[in-house]
Structure formats: C-alpha cells, structure tokens
Amino acid sequence: MAAALVLLFTFTAGGIIWLGRDVNETVALRSTAQSIAFQAARAGAQEIVLGALRDEGDTDITLDHAVARNTALAQGREMIEAYAVEGVVADVAIDGNDNVTVTVHLVGPGGAKVTGVGIAHPESR
C-alpha cells in the first residue's frame, strides 16, 4: 500500500515538473517568436519610397513592397540566427494598406513548435 502510494506520488510529481518545464520552454519560445516577427515586420515597414518624399515633396508615405518583403525576410532570418534558435520566416504578407505581416515558426529544443506573428505599418510622425 505504502509502496504504491510512494510510486503514485513520485510519478505525479515527476509529471508536474515535466509539464512545468515544457510550459516554461513554450512560453519563452513564443515570446522569442513574437519578438522576431515584430522586429522583422517593423524593418519591412520602414522601407518606404524615398524618391517621392525627397524630390517631389510628396507627404504621402508609400511602402516599397518588394524591398519591404526582402528586408522583412532578411531581418527575420538574421534575428533567428542571433537568438540561435531553430526556425523559419514562414510568410511575409503586405496588404493594400501597407500593413506588413510577418509569420515566424520556431521549434524548441524539446520539439515544441510555436508561431509568432508581427504586424507593422509605415506612418509619418
């Protein structure tokens, strides 16, 4: 009886500790994914068309979609490398309102898979 109880509680405590570690790893990885996605989106949203602003005195902010996409991708990859995590920039989407949306997938050392999404929009201040 006593041995069964000890065994039961040992397994329960082990399970709780394992679950805690797993949750901790996933929370940390998700935070990293969100940070990378947001920074990539911000970098992309900074790629505005400068010619019109400089030469024509135009005050409208227009995003250079092709450059923004490449910059967001490059920034995302660079941040994944900087954080030394395994993952990919899964998607860079730019809509008609110049919102840059970056989706990042990361895989943790324990195999946990998380997704981070960051959205940024160019604006003048």
């Binding site: 509680f9 935070s31 940070s35 920074q39 900074q46 920034q75």
Partner: protein, 152 residues
C-alpha cells in the same frame, strides 16, 4: 459473527485515518510544488517580456547612453512592482550598425525568484538571467550608416 464484523469495521476506519495522515502532507507538498513551478514560470516570463521590451526600446534610440536610459526606464516600469522577479539588474550591450552590418541591442535581465513559502520543498531564492536581442534602427542610430538617412 457480530464481533468479527465490528473488528473489521474498526480496522477499516483505522486504515482510512492512517491513509489520511499519510496522504495529507503529501497533498500539501504537491500543492506547494505546483505553486513553486507556477512562480518560476511567471518570474521567467516577466523577466523575458521585460528584456524584450527593453531591448526594443533601446534599439529605437540614437546612441548607447540613450539606449541605456530607455532600457532602465522600461525595466523600472515593468519590474518595479513585481513580487516574483525581484532584485533585478539589467545590462545593455550596444553594437552600433556599421556599413551594411545591422546593429544589435542585447539586453540581459537578471532577477531573483523569491523562495518565500516554498521552504517545505527546501527551495530557496533562485537567481536567473534572460537575454533579449533587438535590431538597432538604422534610420535613427548615430554612427557609420549605410543608408545615409540618420541624423548627425
């Protein structure tokens, strides 16, 4: 027959009482273990979230001293009232963008998860460190710039 039944009943009652006596402390320890794990996760999440925010705030500044000030401000605001991540220290490593190379602001936050109330598990204060990295905004940072758009 009745005497045997009474004895069995008494034995069963005693076994249940003994079981409760053994089980109760174990259940209490299990509850404390869950609290300890939860506190650890919360403390780490708070520190990580703070480090990310501080790194991104620093990365928007023009120089290392301004980045340091922005980082300290964010850390103070986010962890000032925290009870799970106390005695915090923060450090900023500033690598300015040079040529085509992007700059990086790396913030390290170290804090203590208090062990108050976790003594039955012999868990004392635990000190831990988290690191966050942010890419320095090349349009704002001073130094050698690839874009030529920054301020002097």
């Amino acid at each position: 027959m009745a005497a045997v039944s009474n004895t069995a009943w008494r034995d069963r009652g005693a076994a249940e009482a003994l079981g409760l006596v053994i089980m109760f402390p174990v259940m209490v320890l299990m509850a404390i273990l869950i609290v300890a794990i939860g506190r650890g996760i919360e403390a780490t999440a708070q520190a990580r979230s703070t480090a990310e925010a501080a790194a991104q705030a620093a990365a928007l500044q023009r120089s290392a001293p301004a980045g340091e000030a922005a980082m300290l401000d964010v850390v103070k605001r986010m962890l000032g009232a925290s009870t799970t991540c106390v005695d915090n220290e923060s450090h900023l490593a500033w690598a300015a963008p040079v040529g085509g190379e992007p700059g990086r602001a790396t913030v390290t936050v170290t804090c203590t998860r208090p062990g108050d109330g976790l003594e039955p598990l012999e868990l004392s204060d635990a000190r831990f460190t988290v690191t966050a990295i942010a890419s320095i905004d090349p349009l704002r940072a001073s130094g050698e710039r690839a874009t030529g758009l920054g301020l002097p």
